[in-house]
């Protein structure tokens, strides 16, 4: 990718976007099926499939895949901050 791509925005082909949408729909069907199958599978699906869906949206629809290291780093720091807060909450509940 050239610096010009980063500056003016990368063009994602409609076929790629359609495939990502298809994957998102399939993952949603998987998530619902797992939640109907068993409680353990439902929790597992929620922990795996939901972040995977969010990753697809961030990566392709929001063009993060085509961004430079600065934006990617900023998003990583924001998400890590959120993970730290969530971990602190569960640590507090776990050791109460």
């Amino acid at each position: 990718m050239t610096s010009m791509d980063q500056e003016k925005g990368h063009i994602v082909e409609p076929a790629v976007l359609a495939r990502v949408w298809g994957a998102l729909v399939c993952l949603t069907i998987g998530l619902v099926s797992a939640s109907l199958a068993s409680p353990k599978l439902a929790v597992l699906a929620m922990l795996v499939i939901t972040p995977a869906k969010a990753w697809l949206v961030f990566h392709y629809f929001m063009h993060l895949k085509y961004e430079g290291p600065l934006l990617k780093g900023m998003v990583l720091v924001a998400l890590l901050t959120l993970v730290i807060f969530i971990s602190m909450m569960f640590l507090d509940l776990g050791f109460r």
Binding site: K8, I11, P14, M46, M62, F85
Partner: protein
């Protein structure tokens, strides 16, 4: 625009992402609140979740995922110089946002008709854990709904601007930023679906 009249494309996008981080933290805080209360009242959350309409929740997920695709297609079309297609996709995105809100209104209406609304007698009569679940449900889906409403207005304005040629192939960062906002609203719903509708 910078002093020499050139738009700072990268700076504009970074500014939008910084705004999106504040949105992420806003909903993140509510997700933490939900997780904390759920761990204290697992049975009540499980029971209350069974009363929500999974079909409507999943249908709205598919509506938002499709609207996200349309928002991305709107940007791609404008970037490729197909401006009328870009305006069409932006209108369709806003339209699906409207569909989402109508479905949500039916869902809330059904709950209201059973007396389940903030301060409602039926809600106050429920066990404390179920009251917390519905309190979080109305707060989080309501706040998300307001974001969808803002997105519908934003995408409609974008469709008009693209149609009038004010947003075009050479300068479409405002459309890209509007798309980023819409996709984040979609991501938030991706997490709301399993927390509320599939929690049972």
């Amino acid at each position: 625009m910078s002093e020499n009249g050139r738009r700072d494309y990268q700076g504009s996008k970074i500014g939008m992402w910084l705004f999106l981080f504040t949105e992420l933290m806003l909903f993140g805080g509510l997700f933490i609140l939900y997780s904390g209360y759920r761990s204290l009242h697992p049975e009540s959350f499980h029971h209350a979740s069974r009363e929500l309409n999974v079909v409507l929740g999943v249908a709205n997920t598919l509506v938002l995922l499709t609207s996200s695709l349309f928002a991305a297609l709107a940007l791609t079309s404008v970037q490729q110089g197909r401006h009328s297609d870009g305006a069409k996709w932006a209108w369709l995105t806003a339209g699906l946002g409207g569909v989402f809100l109508v479905v949500k209104a039916f869902e809330w209406g059904a709950k209201f008709s059973h007396g389940i609304y903030p301060g409602g007698k039926a809600l106050l009569a429920l066990p404390p854990g179920e009251g917390l679940f519905y309190g979080l449900y109305f707060t989080m889906t309501g706040l998300h709904g307001l974001h969808v409403l803002a997105g519908v207005v934003l995408l409609s304005v974008m469709a008009l601007l693209v149609g009038k040629g004010r947003v075009h192939q050479g300068d479409c960062v405002v459309l890209e930023n509007s798309g980023l906002y819409w996709h984040l609203v979609d991501v938030i719903w991706i997490f709301l679906l399993p927390l509320f509708y599939l929690a049972a």
